[in-house]
Amino acid sequence: MTVSGRTYGQRMTPPRSSPPRLSDTAKAAASVALAVYLIGLVLSIAGNSVSGSSALMRTIKGRLFSPWMQPAWLDLGFDQPFTYGLPEDADHTLEIRSQGGKPVTMRFPGERTGEQAARWRRLARTIAVAADDDAAPPLTAGVAAGSFADIGSEDVTVRVLRRPLPERAAPDSDARPRQPHAARVRRVAGEIQVIELGGAAKQPEMAPLLREPTRAAPLPVAEEDADE
């Protein structure tokens, strides 16, 4: 059947011709771009290893490549061993419990499964592994503050629980969860306060006060501590 000059029921594609080729200029430009990218890729792998990198490599990568590779999420080391058999490689969960009154507990990943649960376990592991870093209290505070509304309290305990990896030769080894990190987080006079309760090996201590950026007035720390 022919309609408007076209034959239906047949493939309406013109016959193939010779494949397009790039001009020498285009090849040269693309080659330079590819060579630069490949150097960046090698530096990314070398510079993001768990063993660290040299100052020279860090400087070259940081000055020339990271500014455009990191925003594109291409500054990657792919250093994924899956496991080293360390305690940090065990499964971690997050538990947030209200202080005082009727206790309310939220657990993450809870009933979630698959990759969604894996993301919560990564978050819990990050908090546990970074417990001694300066970066950890803001994250702990953020996690706690984000739960205030759901849990109905502005004074909570954040705990990371770790299920120890059983030894192959000791099937009856103690499988009770460990607590690598715990902190009490509360909002006092609009300010978030993080009190490290310590993990299994740490003594309780008063952590730095985290001030919300919108508030300028300092919190009377001494009075609060005295109340304690």
């Binding site: 594609t13 013109p14 500054d75 899956f82 496991t83 058999g85 499964d91 919560w120 984000g146 192959r168």
Partner: protein, 304 residues
């Protein structure tokens, strides 16, 4: 006496240099069939949707106005120049719109609609999402970012796509072998090797990958593995060693075999099965799927 006879070493060097240049140009720019790229595009779209959906349920819980991961809390985990446009999205509605655009771009990649544009959009939004909270990122997320950028370079919508159907309907020229397909496939091969070497180097820094017990620790994490092999490993240390060393041996063979014509097809066919199995054993099934996606272009020879 001819000039060539006077300066033979120069000619030899010139020949070698020519050979290197020709090899380079042939590897990156020889016109290639876009169909393998189309297969990667479809699988990448599906992988992207699966990974994006793992954010969907907790998007507001994490990044919402009162979210658990406020932007200032992740500074310690971000690279020096790491930024995320998502930091500026502070409302639940804004987050939902951002996420809807991301999923729409991934769906467009899957069906092949405005494929290359969709790849660029998805790659940018995916990078923004990952940069927003780097501590949530897993190995499959990294692979997806790489796949999206590699696809954005080549004519990934030239076959098995809505783009192609539209072109056919309009009577436009059929998809021809393209030099950019070669560039895109070349980047996929480079990255498949780079990721495998990255994993391999990281593994070989640990004693457990040398003494053959790493597979036990993979299986022993109660929540992680999707296949419980602890009973087998308890009964047989050799089985444990075989699995551990088998993973490392496969990774070595894969990273090298990709670069030889004689072995490429077979290692990719093996990889199509082996990577998902490694993903299952390691509790990272989507990483296994992503690596299998890298194998697809070389598992068959498309007919002309």
């Amino acid at each position: 006496m001819s000039e060539a006879a006077v300066n033979p070493p120069t000619d030899v060097r010139g020949t070698a240099a020519d050979r290197v240049i020709h090899t380079w140009l042939d590897y990156w720019f020889a016109p290639a069939d876009p169909r393998p790229l189309a297969a990667v595009r479809i699988l990448t779209g599906l992988l992207g949707i699966a990974l994006a959906m793992s954010y969907a349920g907790d998007l507001v819980t994490w990044f919402g106005p009162s979210g658990m991961i406020p932007p200032e809390a992740v500074d310690g985990w971000r690279p020096r120049v790491g930024v995320s446009p998502l930091d500026g999205v502070t409302t639940s509605a804004g987050l939902q719109v951002f996420f809807a655009v991301l999923v729409a771009a991934l769906a467009a990649i899957t069906i092949g609609f405005a494929s290359q544009i969709a790849c660029v959009v998805a790659a940018l939004l995916w990078a923004a999402l990952l940069s927003r909270a780097p501590m949530l990122v897993g190995p499959a997320d990294d692979c997806l970012a790489v796949l999206l950028w590699c696809l954005a370079v080549g004519p990934c919508g030239a076959a098995w796509s809505l783009d192609r159907a539209i072109r056919d309907r309009r009577g436009l020229a059929a998809a021809l072998p393209s030099p950019w397909a070669s560039t895109s496939l070349g980047l996929l091969r480079v990255h498949a090797t780079a990721i495998t070497l990255g994993v391999l180097l990281a593994q070989l820094k640990g004693d457990d990958w040398w003494n053959g017990t790493a597979a036990w620790w993979l299986a022993a994490a109660p929540e992680t593995p999707l296949v419980d092999l602890t009973g087998l490993y308890r009964r047989s240390e050799y089985a444990l060693n075989i699995v551990t060393h088998g993973i490392v041996a496969f990774e070595i063979l894969f990273a090298t075999g990709l670069w030889f014509d004689a072995s490429r097809q077979i290692v990719c066919r093996v990889g199509l099965v082996a990577w998902p199995v490694i993903g299952l054993l390691a509790g990272e099934p989507l990483f296994g799927f992503a690596m299998a996606t890298f194998c697809v272009p070389w598992t068959w020879r498309p007919r002309p």
